[in-house]
Symmetry: C2
């Protein structure tokens, strides 16, 4: 058969195809995905499982009038290919022209920018309610995977979807897998439903009063078209439970569902990566040793253990001292508060971007109860990637909550000393912002209760003081060296804690400094630098703040983000020279 994909440029091009042709198209798209994702990196398994579903969706429904909302939207590659964006997957030179997520600026077929889990049902209920108020008649379809279903927002959405009393379709893509294996009691019901081919009377979705259909062959285009035709224009909120195969068509991805969920680009040197020291590996190793010596220590993840280095090997060794709560970041924070209040020593690992889900739990459940638990924030850094995963909000989010002790280590030794102290202490909830790049001094560092509220002068100079927080200690050092070449002997301070300022040190700096420079690898607004500004607001001390301006930079290369924010050492030195008394 000739290429169908070549002829398909928008959804209407599908409408006249035969089932055979649609199947052929599915094969072509699958091959394109396998080649493309292997080449440029991205979400592999989740997209391979969604090829047929997406083709059938665009065959039966009429996007953009009918509205698709993809949960997380990491599985929307086929949707992109079918809505005018196949070049980004076929043409090597355009491989990086697209976001990996639905993006309204790319296409009218993308309604929302989405990159976090469990939001699709709620967002889609809003589309449906607006339609009902306006008197429209489009179909609203939320596509959500089994992994996303364990998040509280998804549940709140389900509970509200069922009372819409109008057209609303949820495609529940059940591939029996979150990123990591699914966690939680509801998955036993999904299993029951799969095993009974959807006939089990005890039915999670029906308890919400939702209509329910089960499709065993969730990768069979004909079955999918049949059921979509049946529910199109339904006037009752309806769930279609699709049993799909994650990684379909790529044996390696099917056999390695967790590893195959997301792939590094082909150019990526995985052997070098294996050898490279990372904080993920350092942390896992350290925690494994601690765990073996103390059965009250436990390590938690909310469905993303791989992202923070909690490998399958770690999980096996940790046994019941490892807890994956599924995609349920809020629950994880409340749970560690409970664990700490009952004498255990929990360590919760979370990515900066997903920590955004936990503000009230950090505030009300953890900090207000002053529960001595430890949270390790990974990936907290000014990012140059997709605006859904910027990693720059966590400090502003966490550091303004009372009681939380937020620490930003600058070296491996400092980090491990802080982590060890945090696990063993009984006084505070502690956040440790795990640095990005491993810097090891080889010198042992001790850390105790006294240290956690104290900044450290790394180098005593005068005139200019550089406060290099966490990741940006390296930048402070770079700036210091440049300044030295201009005969300025800058002081370097490690602030250590970013939820407070060390007033003693800031006071000391007044003596022989004209300018204080704060450097933080995160959002300026509500960040550490502004706390320093407040301290000096009534003193005759100039302060320059470096960090990220408040913007959703989407797919802006990191170098450009740095340049815009004047985060290069040369730019900073230029500003410093303009701001000190000549």
């Amino acid at each position: 058969m000739a290429s169908i994909l070549e002829e398909v440029n928008e959804p209407k091009d599908l409408k006249e195809l035969s089932i055979d042709e649609l199947n052929h198209l599915a094969g072509e798209i699958r091959n394109t995905l396998i080649e493309n994702v292997a080449m440029m990196g991205g979400h592999m398994g989740s997209n391979l499982g969604m090829v047929e579903t997406t083709i059938a969706m665009h065959y039966v429904f009429d996007s953009p009038k009918d509205k698709f909302v993809f949960d997380v939207s990491h599985q929307s590659y086929t949707h992109k290919i079918l809505t005018g964006r196949k070049e980004g997957f076929i043409n090597k030179e355009k491989h990086h022209s697209l976001s990996g997520f639905t993006t309204p600026s790319e296409s009218e077929h993308d309604i929302f920018k989405i990159g976090h889990t469990s939001t699709s049902v709620s967002l889609a209920t809003g589309l449906a309610k607006a339609r009902d108020l306006k008197g429209g008649n489009e179909n609203v379809i939320a596509v959500i995977g089994d992994g996303s279903m364990s998040g509280g927002e998804a549940f709140e959405g389900l509970n509200n979807a069922s009372v819409l009393n109008s057209n609303f379709i949820i495609l529940f893509n059940d591939n029996e897998m979150s990123i990591a294996p699914n966690q939680g009691g509801m998955y036993s019901n999904f299993k029951e439903l799969r095993e009974s081919k959807g006939t089990s009377v005890n039915n999670f979705f029906k308890t919400f009063g939702l209509n329910y259909y089960y499709i065993e062959e969730g990768n069979d285009i004909e079955s999918l078209i049949d059921i979509f035709r049946k529910v199109k224009d339904t006037t009752k909120p309806t769930v279609i439970h699709l049993h799909t195969l994650k990684g379909k068509g790529l044996k390696w991805a099917m056999d390695n569902k967790e590893a195959g969920h997301w792939m590094m680009p082909a150019s990526f040197d995985s052997e070098a990566m294996m050898k490279m020291p990372t904080y993920e590996k350092i942390t896992s190793q350290f925690l494994l040793e601690k765990i073996k010596k103390d059965k009250t220590i436990a390590v938690l993840s909310a469905g993303t253990p791989g992202a923070t280095g909690l490998t399958t090997d770690f999980r096996e060794q940790a046994g019941n001292q490892y807890i994956d709560v599924g995609v349920a970041e809020e629950h994880a924070v409340a749970m560690i508060s409970g664990m700490a209040r009952n004498g255990a020593k929990p360590v919760y690992e979370i990515a900066s971007s997903f920590s955004q889900r936990t503000y009230d739990q950090l505030n009300h459940d953890l900090a207000m109860n002053n529960s001595p638990a430890t949270i390790l924030v990974f990936g907290g850094s000014i990012g140059g990637g997709d605006c859904t995963h910027l990693g720059m909000f966590d400090m502003s989010l966490m550091s303004n909550i009372p009681n939380l002790v937020c620490l930003a280590p600058t070296t491996k030794e400092e980090y491990l000393a802080m982590l060890d102290w945090s696990i063993e202490q009984n006084s505070y909830p502690v956040i440790i912002r795990v640095p990005k790049k491993v810097v090891s001094t080889g010198k042992e560092v001790s850390f105790s209760q006294e240290n956690c509220m104290k900044a450290v002068i790394e180098k005593q100079g005068n005139k200019v003081a550089l406060l290099g927080l966490g990741n940006f200690m390296a930048l402070a050092k770079e700036v210091s060296e440049l300044l030295a070449s201009k005969s300025i002997n800058a002081t370097i301070v490690n602030p250590v804690n970013y939820s407070m300022i060390d007033k003693d040190i800031l006071h000391q700096l007044k003596e022989n400094h004209d300018l204080v420079v704060t450097l933080e690898d995160g959002l300026l607004d509500g960040g550490f630098g502004e706390k320093v500004d407040r301290y000096y607001a009534t003193f005759n001390m100039k302060v320059l703040n470096y960090g990220a301006e408040k913007n959703y930079n989407d797919l802006v290369p990191l170098a450009e983000v740095y340049n815009m924010n004047r985060l290069n050492a040369e730019q900073i030195v230029e500003d410093i020279l303009n701001n000190i008394r000549k």
Copy 2:
């Protein structure tokens, strides 16, 4: 029968009582609650429904070894009476000695400070997991009402509770009522369970793999004791579904379940209150008029319509343009984003304290999609009440998120102009922080896109500039008057927007001012004042910031909170005089 309550001072005093005596005690406690709550104000209906359950809990289980976690903990009055704190309810002079919520500093029987919904199951799983790691054998019991069950955190907790594989008991207190009537599809299943006396095969709790018991007579002590004895020391996570009667024993509270949920003190003059203008009333009236003219406008609440003035009358008149999503703050924010993206004009009313639940939805679902929805934040103000409801975090939480336009009106006219503009505009997600006290100038105010990023000079003076944000414009005026008596003609600025600073006006101020004073009715950390500090950090301008220091002040009288934070006009003037060039 002689008083039993007089003899009961701690849980062990219950253990030898007969069922008759326990029933007598229940009557005494109920009378005490009715008298006490009517006198001092507080949660009435919810506590009246929990008297028997709490007695039976303390009769069968052994607190504090066995651990009770009360969701929201507003229903814990009987628990307090039975655990050494009855004086706070009996002795009029001690009426205000207790928190209305569980509070560890009051008693070892209170494990957590709790005031937000839907947290109990998650917190309790932490207690249980810690017990299992340590090898303990205490019972862990979470008490959660049907209203709290619709919150995502509760769901995440349920999904994880079921996999604990050890002792864990959930008392599901189903009085068929949230604060307002329950909302959502799951409530149809709870009804099915009640009507089938728990025998329905389709069972929300069983879909999580939880053990399940139904007790029709949830206010019958004997039934309660029986079932608690049966599940005590269970090794399988278990739900006991208790059908209880909200407001039991007080006809008025039973007949008026929503009004009876929480009562004002007897001293409260409800007639005067009815006549007093409030922003709740002003808002409802304004929105009703808007709604009648435009069917695409809708008003949302997350289970707390009464708290923001959305009366039953309002709800009836608004019809399908009023949406209560139940206790599901996250869903509400995602839903309004969806509504706005599909051409509707949603207005979501939320209390400051509960907005803490929505950081990621504000950031990822709403602001990143730049959806032009309106959020009205009520009760945003430095509080003197329970630390669970301080109302001071919302500005720091919201104002540092990109794209959000956060407005702080100072008068009724300004507020309504902003609200009208926000509903009709199509450019930004807008937060309006509804002021506390109605100030009406009678002068019409116009507000347009241009205004939303511009501060306003209310009075041009020199030397000292007072930036009075929202509620604190009144304080700025008070300070200005005091300064006038010292021959200082201060400039007064209305910042209008607190998610950005108006650099033009701040620049102008440099000309003839030595000192800028920021006044904000919220947390200083991450707040508006620090943005002003950052702007002036390299200029020769002193800035004084007023607001709340980062602390969980619990039941500290407001006057004391003001005094500690130097928020009295006299204190501020003293500081100003100390900071200007003589």
